[in-house]
């Protein structure tokens, strides 16, 4: 009885202020997306157009004078052609406690590491939701416990991840997709615990004047699978395999006048022979161009992977050159465009992303991706006929 009483008291102490002082809010987004493919598909199962509807809702509440909060963010998509792209995911469901210099997170969360524009090399905590977009920026929610300590010597993040998420892959009807397709149903694991291998990571980061430095180490199931060629119903498929890896990484970004310098490097063990990979470059911005208020940024990034053509990413010997135009207008108009060129096999990948607001609650987006001169040895070979233009209308509420 006494025990129950103290439990109630503790509960009231923890959650009592929630009743009186809770601050909570909702936000959401619904987006309609149309993709038009400009070349005929390699696989007759694929189509030349696709319509897709997605929605995301976020609920946030905080109490205890803002020291504690809870956020939940479910996401869902309905896809016209690809039943694997029709999917849902709990992007976030996380409780956060923070006090002077200490932060504790428990639940499903998303964490981003990295500084470069094109290749997100050091980003490893969350799995890529690859059916969403191939740019590696859409992620699946990751179950985790995270402890952060903020001190004069920097920020130390400790991660414990009790469960692994498999990368999402398109179905046979999906486009763009690799050729042959990835047989997600045949997924293999190096470790017998499979997705329940307990993963860990730590990261130290510090602001050093004009520079931000991060050093990290990850031990657990690698988020990026390796692939082997197999057969499914007599048809060739790629079988993904997840290894237990050790990955050390460094990321560095700095501001020097109008120059923004970026570097990411990794060393990975456990996925074939150990190797190094790196990416880095700069963004130089011309402010107030043409006597106006818009800014033009020139970007250049180099991507290198010791494994060369056998790398698990297409960015092995590549250089990216791009431009970013930010209008600084009421509608928030922005354009980012560029080309990634493999300097060994001359494969080229063009990308254009543009967006602008329409009133207060709407946004228009345009994306174009073209692969050209794709070499047979390049990881992008399967995408050589998947050039597409995407229009997106989003409504925020």
């Amino acid at each position: 009885m006494r025990k129950a009483g103290s439990f109630v008291a503790t509960t009231l102490m923890l959650f009592g202020p929630a009743v009186a002082l809770a601050e909570s809010e909702w936000r959401g987004e619904i987006a309609l997306e149309l993709r038009a493919f400009t070349e005929s598909a390699l696989d007759p199962e694929q189509n030349d157009s696709n319509l897709s509807l997605s929605g995301e809702v976020e609920y946030y509440t905080s109490w205890d004078n803002g020291r504690q909060s809870f956020t939940i963010k479910p996401f869902g998509r309905l896809d016209q052609r690809d039943y694997k792209r029709t999917h849902g995911d709990l992007r976030e469901a996380v409780w956060i406690f923070s006090d002077d210099g200490l932060e504790l997170r428990a639940g499903v969360d998303k964490v981003f590491w990295g500084v470069t524009e094109v290749h997100h090399l050091v980003d490893i905590i969350n799995q890529t939701d690859a059916v969403e977009n191939r740019d590696g920026e859409q992620k699946l929610g990751q179950p985790m416990f995270k402890l952060s300590l903020e001190r004069d010597w920097g920020v130390l993040d400790l991660f414990y991840m009790p469960m692994f998420r498999e990368r999402t892959f398109p179905s046979v009807e999906g486009r763009p997709r690799s050729q042959p397709r990835v047989a997600y149903e045949l997924t293999e694991y190096q470790n017998h615990q499979e997705k329940y291998h307990q993963d860990m990571a730590l990261r130290w980061s510090q602001n050093l004047g004009d520079w931000d430095l991060g050093l990290a180490h990850f031990y657990g199931t690698g988020r990026e699978p390796s692939y082997s060629l197999g057969l499914d119903d007599g048809l060739p498929v790629l079988i993904p395999r997840y290894e237990i890896i050790h990955q050390s990484s460094i990321d560095l970004q700095g501001v020097v006048g109008d120059w923004l310098w970026k570097f990411e490097g990794i060393h990975r063990e456990g996925q074939g022979p150990s190797f190094f990979a790196a990416t880095g470059g700069f963004e130089y911005t011309f402010y107030g161009i043409a006597d106006g208020s818009s800014d033009l940024g020139a970007l250049a990034e180099v991507m290198w992977d010791e494994r060369g053509d056998s790398a698990t990413t297409p960015f092995d010997r590549d250089v990216f050159l791009g431009l970013r135009w930010v209008a600084n207008d009421v509608d928030g108009t922005e354009v980012l465009t560029g080309v990634v060129n493999d300097w060994e096999n001359s494969t080229r990948f063009f990308n254009l992303e543009a967006s602008r607001r329409l009133g207060n609650d709407w946004k228009l987006g345009l994306q174009a991706r073209f692969w050209s001169n794709v070499d047979e040895s390049d990881a992008l070979f399967g995408l050589r006929r998947d050039d597409y233009i995407e229009f997106k209308v989003s409504r925020f509420f």
């Binding site: 936000r27 004047g209 402010y287 928030g332 009133g359």
Partner: protein, 261 residues
């Protein structure tokens, strides 16, 4: 005789002139320092602000955000701005460590990607959220960021004013000079005229509805910025000022940026 006159004229211009200018500079600086002294010591505050943007055709759009600020002894303030409207940028947050002379340090948090991006603070003259306020207009106004010259006593809205000219020290500023009307009673800025690099009048900022907090610190409820070259205007309204809410350094880190909602 004519040579003597010429010498007198020269001595007046060369010697007297600079002395005069030096006095004006001293007086201008003194006014700026006094205004700064009166506004020092609040420690920290938070507030909500809205911006009503209006183009020359009268079309309006709204921005809303929250800001928190921490005084830093011997340096510029630390400020965090969290955006609420327009909705597509909701949760985006901007952290600034302003400095007296050195360029400010700035980080932008993009909630969709959970990414903290370092940004160059050289973009001083760029419009803030598409408004008529430039980043430098909203940045912490440190005495060291300008050189000063007292021009004259003036009257504005029946109040006695000091009219001073201040020239940005930073060559990346979008302005050649600013004319500032500061009331003699409380040393509050009441009006600022901004002159572009070609020295033509670009914008006028008017402060309205001053309210005193903690019996000392004056804050304008409204700041109205009018761009004379484009015909656009922005009305910035401050609400729910709260001073000394126990903000700490740890509330102004790139980690706290990721928690900002």
């Amino acid at each position: 005789m004519s040579l003597r006159l010429l010498l007198i004229v020269i001595s007046l211009v060369v010697f007297n002139g600079p002395v005069q200018a030096g006095d004006d500079a001293k007086k201008g600086l003194k006014i700026a320092v006094e205004a700064d002294r009166r506004d020092t010591g609040y420690h920290d505050f938070r507030a909500e602000l809205t911006m009503l943007l209006r183009n020359k055709h009268g079309k309006e759009s709204l921005r809303s955000m929250r800001t928190r600020s921490l005084e830093v002894e011997g340096d510029g303030d630390k400020t965090m701005i969290i955006f609420d409207q327009p909705r597509d940028v909701k949760g985006t947050a901007l952290l600034t460590f302003s400095h007296k002379i050195e360029p400010d340090d700035q980080w932008l948090y993009l909630p969709a990607l959970k990414r903290v991006k370092r940004i160059s603070s050289r973009n001083k003259s760029g419009p803030f959220m598409g408004s008529e306020f430039a980043y430098e207009d909203l940045a912490s106004q440190e005495v060291e960021k300008y050189s000063y010259r007292y021009l004259k006593d003036d009257t504005l809205n029946d109040q006695a004013m000091f009219l001073i000219e201040r020239d940005p020290v930073d060559e990346n500023s979008g302005y050649k000079r600013q004319l500032v009307w500061i009331d003699q009673a409380e040393y509050r800025p009441q009006k600022i005229e901004f002159y572009d690099r070609k020295d033509s009048l670009l914008k006028t900022l008017v402060f309205r509805g001053y309210v005193q907090y903690l019996d000392r610190y004056w804050r304008a409820r409204e700041m109205f910025m009018e761009n004379h070259q484009t015909g656009k205007s922005t009305l910035l309204t401050w609400e729910n000022y709260e001073f000394r809410v126990d903000l700490k350094d740890s509330d102004f880190t790139t980690n706290s940026l990721k928690r900002a909602k």
